[in-house]
Symmetry: C2
Subunit: 273 residues, 2 copies
């Protein structure tokens, strides 16, 4: 399955339908500072959540081929919609190891729950796909896990508005989370790459007894494990290169992206797929 051309000095490819995957880039930069990264955000066609599975698979395939063409050694699907709908078709094209946010988040939640009661929040598209439930089911040896989901459609626009600690965001979060908090969960999967920006507020609402699973963080840890196991960690100690590609008008991406990345974005280039 591994492409013989893959080498430890190749970059890691990360892609998303838009901007949210930058939380994965941030986590990778912190955990694997020596790795070169290539990010693709399909900003011309975002959001994917309302598109049909066939269309999503086609778009995901185009991005995958772009990244494979640039010699990536590991591919990260940092988009819940593509992970839910197109994982298999991406995998068929990838020829390098593949990590997706849903499997990484589900595995991490299973490792952390003590009472086997897991909460999941995400966009309507992700929650309706039941992809987290399916991934938990695949990993759950005991058959004793119970999972409780809630779609939170206003969280993405609230994050993009920058209202990360606004009383309105708090009210909305209280309303969204009430029913799953009642289920006595002890871990909560943040099933959308925008949500890590709401972590302090969400932690405050669910209380200290519930562990928040940041799937961006889970993906980065999984990437380190896989590269270590394959002896593919980049041995270079120089300055890592990070390339950012979008498919349309980079202004919004650049402006909002800095909040996601926690630092200024380097040059953002526009490509057509």
């Amino acid at each position: 399955m591994l492409d013989i051309s893959s080498s430890p000095v190749g970059p890691i490819g990360i892609f998303d339908s838009g901007i949210g995957g930058l939380t994965v880039v941030k986590a990778l930069m912190a955990l694997l500072p020596g790795e070169d990264l290539i990010y693709v955000g399909d900003t011309a066609r975002v959001p994917y959540g309302v598109k049909s599975p066939e269309t999503i698979r086609r778009y995901a395939g185009e991005i995958t081929e772009f990244l494979i063409g640039r010699g990536v050694k590991l591919l990260i699907v940092a988009c819940n919609t593509m992970s839910a709908v197109a994982r298999d078709s991406i995998s068929a094209l990838a020829r390098v190891p593949l990590i997706d946010v849903i499997e990484a988040g589900a595995a991490c939640a299973l490792a952390q729950t003590r009472n086997n009661r897991i909460g999941i929040i995400g966009t309507p598209a992700t929650i309706n796909s039941k992809a987290y439930l399916a991934a938990i089911g695949r990993f759950d040896g005991s058959g004793e896990i119970r999972a409780f989901s809630r779609a939170c459609p206003l969280f993405v626009p609230l994050v993009e508005e920058g209202w990360l600690d606004h009383r309105v965001t708090r009210l909305i979060a209280q309303e969204y989370l009430a029913s799953i908090i009642d289920e006595d969960i002890d871990v909560l999967i943040l099933g959308c790459t925008h949500y890590p920006l709401l972590k302090p507020l969400l932690q405050n609402i669910v209380g200290p007894g519930v562990a928040l699973i940041d799937s961006a963080q889970a993906v980065a840890e999984n990437a380190r494990r896989q590269l270590q196991a394959l002896q593919m960690l980049n041995p270079a100690s120089g300055k890592a290169q990070r390339d950012f590609f979008v498919t349309d008008a980079p202004d919004h991406f650049r402006r909002v992206g800095e909040a996601f990345l926690g630092q200024e974005l380097p040059q953002v280039r526009v490509i057509s797929l």
Copy 2:
């Protein structure tokens, strides 16, 4: 400029990047119940607001050609982004009379203001385009109009969530509108086709002294005036035909669309442009 093939029995073509233009369809159905309507919502490529002007013009051109090909006698751009960015290029292709939401809304606001102080709310893309300000400037013979704008990025997701009279929506609206209410406006343009669904709540916040300009309503009135002047009103008294086309997965469109239309949507067909 008029296409010689245009006839009073031709349909009216209405298009939008997505679902919001259905408020225009609703207003047309009430005001011109005898007219056949064809609606195109480019749901595969929504939202347009983050795309570059070149891309928006190309997409608008594709939709225009589709509708012209179906023999429309009047074309309505029920999308603020396309009205702001692509009006001229649509007009060059259209060969039939053209109405856009921005000009219709601006003209209506000018007719209604008594103190010459106009407020405008819309999505960030619409407000940043300054298209309402430009339209007001073109129509303002006196040179005495003052206009005050505010982007309201959370209103569209709140409407799509169905929180039309939720206390959170009220809090957000109070925050968004505070600065323009302070400017002593006497009309407020709802510069987004989603906003008419928030009319009762917004009217309550701005108070009875401020007239809300519903651009969907303004477009329908403008359409009636133009067709009357051109003697193109449909003389048929039979059941009017309404056709709805989208470019991807009609489920969300159908579900959310009913709230916009105020009645069940008939068959929705998928086309590729």
